[in-house]
Amino acid sequence: MGTTASQLGKDLLSEYQELTFLTKQEILLAHKRFSECLSKEDKNLPTPRVPMEKVLSLPELKSNPFRKRICHVFSTSDMKDGSLTFEDFLDLLSAFSDSATLEIKSHYAFRIFDFDDDGTLDSGDLEKLVNCLTGETDDTRLTPEEMRQLISNILEESDIDKDGTVNLSEFQHVISRSPDFVSSFKIVL
C-alpha cells in the first residue's frame, strides 16, 4: 500500500476516490488525522496499523457507545485486535459518509449491532444494543419487564418470517422505512 510519511500519491488518491465514497479533501483530511495517531516507529512501516486504543481516542469515536464494535467490524487484522490500517480507516469513513448508499450503511449497521457475530440479531444482541443506547449503569437501564416489552415490540415490527431473530434482509427492510437512519448514521471528520 505504501503511504509515505506525509503525502499520498496522486494516483493512489484517485484510486481511493474511486473505491470509496469520500471526496479528495476528505481523504486528505483522513490521512492527516491517521498519521497523527501513528507512533514514530510505525510511520516507516509499509502498512502501519493503529492499535484500537488510539482509534478509540479520536474525538469522533470517543463518546460513541459502539466504538469497539466499529473497530472490530472494520478491522482487517488477523489477530482480531481491532487495529486499523489506513485503508480500513478509509472504509470506515466511507461507510459513514454522507454519500454512502443506504444499502452499505445498513449492511455495516447490521454488523455493528450483531454483538455476538452470528449473523442475526437475536434477543441477546438487541438487549445489549438497548443497553448501549441508554447507558451502562444500573440506574440508566430499563427494567427487565420493560426490556422484554421493548424487544417483543421490535421483533414484532421487524421479524417478518417470525423466527425470533432479525436477519440482514429484514434489517435492511426495516431500515429502508426508517426516516432517521440516514441522517443519524453519519461520521464526518
Binding site: 473505491l19 469522533e60 452499505i104 449473523g119 443506547l133 447507558g135 421493548l150 426508517s178 461520521i187 464526518v188
Partner: protein
C-alpha cells in the same frame, strides 16, 4: 457466517446445518437486488471468519454459485465497486478484475464504460464544489457534534428560510426594482401615474438641523413612516405605470402582481418538495412511522455526536423516550379499559377545559383588536417620543405578550385532560400554532375594520398606508423580542438578578417548538408584507442571519438543550407543516387585498386601476387573439369543472391502487411466514433422516456426522446435498 442466514438454529439445539447455505434462496442473497457481477463470491469472510469453522467452507465456490454468477455477469449492469460492502483490498481486486474483463470487451463497450466513469467523476467534483458553497457548513457541523440531529434540524430549517427569502428578494429585485433603477440609464422613459404630484402624507418641512433630524430619523426608522416612505421600501414609491425601453414596453404593475403570485407559488412548491423527500418512504404502510420502535432503536444514536456531555444527554433522552413510549402502550391499554362513568367524567372535564381555552383565545383576540384601534387613534396626536413609540407598538406588544403567556396556560391545563403523552405534546403545539397565526389575522381584520370606516371620509390614503407600517413594526418588534428573550440575555439576567422569578426564567431550556413557532410567525409576516413592502424579504434575511448566530452562541455557551427528545425526521415534518399553515394563512390577506381592496388614489403602481387584480385582464386583452382565446378558455368555468372532475378520478384511481398494493403486501407477508416455517420443518426432518442414517450405518460415520467440520471439497462428496435429487442422497451415505 456472515450476514445472510435466513434461519436460526433449530430448537433442538443442533448446530446450523450446512445444507442451509446451499439453498438457492441463500445463494441468491449474495447477489441482492441489483446483483454485482464481481468475479469472486468471496466476501470479507476470508479474513474475518467468525465463530464456527463450519462457516469457513461456505465461501468457497460451489457449483451452484459459479453457474449463478456466470449467468448474472452476462445479464446485469455492474454496480460501482465502492457500493460493495467489502474491504479495500477486495474492492481493489474486484476493480482489477473488471478492468481485465473490460479489455476483452469490444472497443465500443470500453469507450462507453470509460465515458461513464469520467462523467460520474465530473458530477462528483461538481457536487463537491457546490457543497463547499453551502451556507454555514462549519457552524452546522459543530452544532451537530454537540447536540445531535434533533437540534440540527432547527438550524437547517433556519438556513432553508434564509435561502427562501434570498430567492424572494431576488425575484422582487429583478423584476420590479431593477427596471426602475436602470430606466434612466437604459434611456427608457417612464410614464408616471396621473396623480403624480400629490404626496401620500404631509410631512413637516425637513429644514431642521442636527440632532432633531437624527431623532426624527430614528422615529421614522422605528415606525416605518417618514423618510422610509420615500424609499424603495414602500410600495407607494413604485408610482410608475410603464417603462419604455428601446425595444419594448415594460408593464410595471403587471410585473408587480405577477411577482407576488410567483413568490407565493414558489414558496409552496419548495416547501412541499422539501417535505416530500423525507416523507416519500413512509407511505406504503399504515403504521405511525415516527413512533416506530425500530426507528428509535436502530436509528436512535446520532453517530455524529462528538461531545461527551451531549452523549450523556442523548442517552438520557433516549432512555426517557423509550420509557415514555413503553408507558404509553400501557396507558393505551388502560384507556381501553376505562369504565363508562370514568369516560363521562373525562369528557366533561375536557369540554370545560376546551371552553376555557376558547375564552382565553377570544380574550387575547379582543385585546389585540382594542389595542390596534387605540393605537391607530393615538397616532393622530403626538404626545412625546417614548409614549408615541409605545402607542405605535401597542399591537405588537400585545401580540407578543399573548404569544408568550398562552403556551404556559396551555401546557398547564393539558395535564388535566388526561391524554396520552405523545398526544398531549401535539395538541398543545397545535393550540400554540393556532394562537400565533390567528393573532396576525386578527390584526389585519381590525386594521381593515379601521379602513372601511376610514374610506367614508376623512383619510386620503388607503389600506396600504395603514397596513404597511404595521407590518414593518411587527417585524421590527418581533426581532427585538427574539433578541431580548434569547437565552443569552437570560443568562445575563440570571447572573445579575437575584429574585426567584428571574432565576426560573433564565434556566429554561432551548425548546425547539417554541423557537420554530417564532420563526414561522416572522416568515408569515414577511409573506403578507412583501406585497406592500418589497424590500421585506431582504430585511427578513438579515434578521434570520443574526438570529442564527445569536441562537448558536446561546446554545454553545449555555449547553442545555432540551431533555425531551426531538427526532430529526418528525421535526422536519412538523416545521414544514407549520410553515405551510403559515403560508396558507398569508395567502388569504394578500388575495383579499389584490382582489377586493380598492387601491389608494395617491400611491402605488395600481393607481389607475380599481383593484390590483384588474391589471391582469387588461394585459390579457392586449395580447394577440390566439393567446387571448386560449387563456380565456383556461379560465372559463367549463374548463375548471372538467379539470376538477379529472383530478378527482385520478385521485380515486391512485387510492384504489394503494389499497390493492397494501392487500398484496399483507398476503406476501403471511406467505413468507408460512414458507419460513415450512423450510424449518423440512430441515428438521432432513436432519432427523441424516441422524437415523448415521446411526444405521456407523461404518461410514466419519463421513456423515461431523457436518460442521467439513471442508469444501469434502462436502461436495458427502452427505445430503440439496442440489442432488433426494434418492441419491439417501443412498450416498
Amino acid at each position: 457466517m456472515e450476514s445472510d442466514s435466513v434461519f436460526y438454529t433449530d430448537r433442538l439445539g443442533a448446530p446450523r446445518n450446512p445444507l442451509l447455505d446451499q439453498l438457492p434462496s441463500y445463494q441468491s442473497l449474495l447477489y441482492r437486488r441489483k446483483p454485482s457481477a464481481s468475479g469472486s463470491t468471496k466476501r470479507r469472510g476470508s479474513s474475518r471468519t467468525r465463530v464456527g469453522s463450519s462457516n469457513s467452507g461456505k465461501w468457497g465456490q460451489t457449483t451452484v454459485a459459479r453457474q449463478h454468477e456466470e449467468k448474472l455477469r452476462t445479464q446485469t449492469i455492474q454496480r460501482p465497486v465502492r457500493e460493495l460492502p467489502k474491504s479495500m483490498a477486495e474492492k481493489r481486486r474486484d476493480k482489477d478484475q473488471r478492468l481485465e474483463q473490460a479489455k476483452d470487451l469490444s472497443s465500443w463497450r470500453q469507450w462507453r464504460q470509460s465515458t461513464r466513469r469520467t462523467l460520474r467523476r465530473l458530477k462528483e467534483d461538481g457536487f463537491e464544489m457546490l457543497s463547499n458553497l453551502e451556507l454555514w457548513r462549519g457552524d452546522i457541523h459543530v452544532i451537530e457534534g454537540m447536540f445531535g440531529t434533533g437540534i440540527l434540524s432547527y438550524f437547517s430549517f433556519l438556513r432553508f428560510l434564509v435561502l427562501l427569502n434570498i430567492v424572494m428578494f431576488l425575484l422582487m429585485f429583478g423584476f420590479v426594482m431593477l427596471p426602475i433603477i436602470t430606466a434612466p440609464h437604459a434611456s427608457g422613459n417612464t410614464t408616471f401615474n396621473h396623480v403624480d404630484g400629490s404626496e401620500c402624507r404631509n410631512y413637516p418641512s425637513t429644514s431642521r438641523h442636527g440632532l432633531v433630524v437624527f431623532h426624527q430619523h430614528i422615529t421614522d426608522l422605528l415606525s416605518g413612516t417618514g423618510f422610509l416612505e420615500q424609499t424603495y421600501l414602500f410600495y407607494g414609491y413604485y408610482k410608475v405605470e410603464a417603462i419604455h425601453f428601446p425595444k419594448f414596453t415594460y408593464n410595471l404593475p403587471l410585473a408587480y402582481l405577477l411577482v407576488t403570485i410567483a413568490y407565493l407559488f414558489l414558496s409552496l412548491i419548495w416547501i412541499v418538495k422539501r417535505s416530500a423527500t423525507g416523507f416519500k418512504r413512509n407511505l406504503v404502510q399504515d403504521e405511525d412511522r415516527f413512533q416506530s420502535f425500530c426507528n428509535k432503536i436502530f436509528a436512535g444514536w446520532d453517530f455524529c455526536i462528538v461531545n461527551e456531555n451531549a452523549a450523556r444527554l442523548k442517552r438520557s433522552s433516549l432512555l426517557y423516550e423509550l420509557k415514555t413510549d413503553l408507558e404509553e402502550e400501557r396507558i393505551k391499554q388502560k384507556i381501553a379499559d376505562r369504565t363508562r362513568k370514568e369516560k363521562c367524567r373525562i369528557y366533561v372535564i375536557r369540554l370545560i377545559l376546551n371552553l376555557f381555552v376558547i375564552t382565553v383565545l377570544a380574550a387575547c383576540f379582543y385585546s389585540i383588536y382594542i389595542a390596534t384601534n387605540f393605537s391607530q387613534k393615538a397616532q393622530m396626536t403626538k404626545v412625546n417620543f417614548i409614549l408615541d413609540l409605545i402607542y405605535e407598538y401597542l399591537p405588537s406588544i400585545v401580540i407578543t405578550l399573548a404569544n408568550f403567556i398562552t403556551p404556559l396556560i396551555f401546557s398547564l391545563i393539558i395535564q388535566y385532560e388526561d391524554y396520552s403523552p405523545a398526544f398531549e405534546i401535539r395538541f398543545t403545539l397545535m393550540r400554540c400554532v393556532f394562537m400565533r397565526l390567528t393573532s396576525i389575522c386578527v390584526l389585519l381584520v381590525s386594521l381593515w375594520g379601521q379602513i372601511t370606516s376610514c374610506q367614508e371620509g376623512d383619510c386620503v390614503c388607503g389600506y396600504n398606508h395603514v397596513l404597511y407600517p404595521e407590518i414593518y413594526k411587527l417585524m421590527i418588534f418581533d426581532f427585538i423580542s427574539l433578541f431580548s428573550l434569547s437565552l443569552w440575555t437570560r443568562k445575563l439576567i440570571v447572573n445579575y438578578c437575584d429574585c426567584g422569578l428571574a432565576k426560573w426564567w433564565g434556566q429554561q431550556e432551548f425548546a425547539i417548538p417554541q423557537n420554530v413557532l417564532d420563526i414561522v410567525y416572522g416568515q408569515t409576516i414577511c409573506w403578507i408584507g412583501t406585497f406592500y413592502c418589497p424590500l421585506l424579504p431582504a430585511i427578513c434575511t438579515i434578521k434570520y442571519f443574526i438570529i442564527f448566530y445569536i441562537k448558536k452562541v446561546t446554545l454553545v455557551n449555555n449547553c442545555r438543550p432540551t431533555t425531551r427528545p426531538f427526532r430529526a425526521s418528525s421535526s422536519n415534518f412538523f416545521f414544514l407543516a407549520v410553515l405551510l399553515i403559515g403560508l396558507a394563512l398569508a395567502c388569504v390577506p394578500v388575495t383579499i387585498s389584490i382582489a377586493q381592496i380598492s387601491c389608494s388614489q395617491a400611491c402605488g403602481p395600481f393607481v389607475n386601476y380599481t383593484t390590483s387584480w384588474e391589471v391582469l385582464p387588461r394585459a390579457v386583452s392586449q395580447l394577440p387573439a390566439g393567446v387571448r382565446t386560449f387563456l380565456l378558455a383556461i379560465s372559463s368555468e367549463a374548463f375548471a369543472v372538467s379539470f376538477f372532475v379529472i383530478t378527482c378520478l385520478a385521485m380515486f384511481y391512485v387510492i384504489a391502487l394503494a389499497g390493492a398494493h397494501k392487500r398484496v403486501i399483507n398476503q406476501l407477508r403471511e406467505q413468507l411466514v408460512m414458507d419460513g416455517r415450512d423450510k424449518r420443518f423440512l430441515i428438521q426432518k432432513l436432519c432427523q433422516a441424516q441422524r437415523t442414517c448415521a446411526v444405521r450405518f456407523p461404518g461410514s460415520g466419519s463421513q456423515s456426522h461431523s457436518s460442521d467440520r467439513v471442508s469444501p471439497s469434502y462436502r461436495s462428496n458427502s452427505g445430503v446435498f440439496l442440489v442432488h435429487p433426494p434418492p441419491d442422497s439417501a443412498t450416498h451415505v
